[in-house]
């Protein structure tokens, strides 16, 4: 399945893109999806276990991703 992934701030800068689509096997977890993104963009682009949100809610690495999900890889936040 093909999943939409959003990148922000320092991660988007490092990757040179703010959005990409990644092919993963159906039933893949957040952790597996992140690993595919790191393979695509280079492992220096993202830490091994970045913060991830699925459909705008923070998600654990073992959550299973569906094709229609909006997955976002979230750099350390610095609001305020």
């Amino acid at each position: 399945m093909n999943v939409r992934v959003l990148l922000f701030a320092s991660y988007a800068d490092a990757a040179g893109v703010s959005e990409l689509r990644v092919e993963v096997t159906p039933g893949a977890t957040v952790g597996e999806l992140v690993e595919r993104v790191r393979q695509r963009l280079g492992s220096a682009t993202l830490p091994p276990q970045p913060l991830v949100a699925v459909n705008q809610v923070y998600a654990r690495a073992d959550l299973r991703v569906a094709e229609a999900d909006e997955v976002a890889i979230i750099p350390p936040v610095a609001g305020g």
Binding site: L51, A53, Q56, R60, A72, G79, G80
Partner: protein, 147 residues
């Protein structure tokens, strides 16, 4: 109760007026502003960005949690994104309650939670022409807040 990510200057007095009311005895306004220096470096400006939809969702969640903890509280929060100059307000938290103890506690909880988990980022611009993303917070404990 209202929260928003906005792309225009913040009007602290207007937000204060929005929460004030005859049943409240205390209004507390927290205004975060861009400082001219950070960790010893001269800052000339800050560029804020956000994952807007999720940031607004997290802000709404924070207000709901804080409201549940402090019955009768009224709150409005706005966070600005875009290019900010020294002295500009980046965030305004306006809180009103019948009693000051609850108002202070609610105000503090909102800003601490905002800083901990709302997906907003900032890149500082320095006097020497360089720019750097500020990584103020570790990611350790945020996921527990989600599902």
């Amino acid at each position: 109760m209202r929260s928003a990510i906005v792309r225009r200057p913040l009007d602290a007095a207007a937000l204060m007026a929005e929460v004030a009311g005859a049943r409240h005895g205390a209004v507390i306004l927290f205004v975060g502003t861009v400082r001219e220096s950070n960790e010893g470096r001269m800052v000339t400006g800050i560029e804020y960005s956000a994952y807007d939809a999720m940031a607004e969702r997290e802000l709404a969640g924070i207000l709901a949690e804080v409201a549940a903890a402090h019955e009768g509280v009224d709150m409005v929060v706005e966070h600005r994104v875009g290019e900010l100059a020294i002295g500009d307000a980046s965030v305004v938290v306006a809180v009103a309650h019948a009693h000051r103890g609850e108002a202070y506690a609610a105000s503090r909880q909102v800003i601490e939670e905002l800083k901990r988990r709302v997906p907003i980022w900032k890149r500082e611009h320095y006097a020497d022409g360089t720019r750097e993303w500020v990584h103020a917070h570790s990611t350790a404990s945020v996921v527990e807040a989600g599902t």
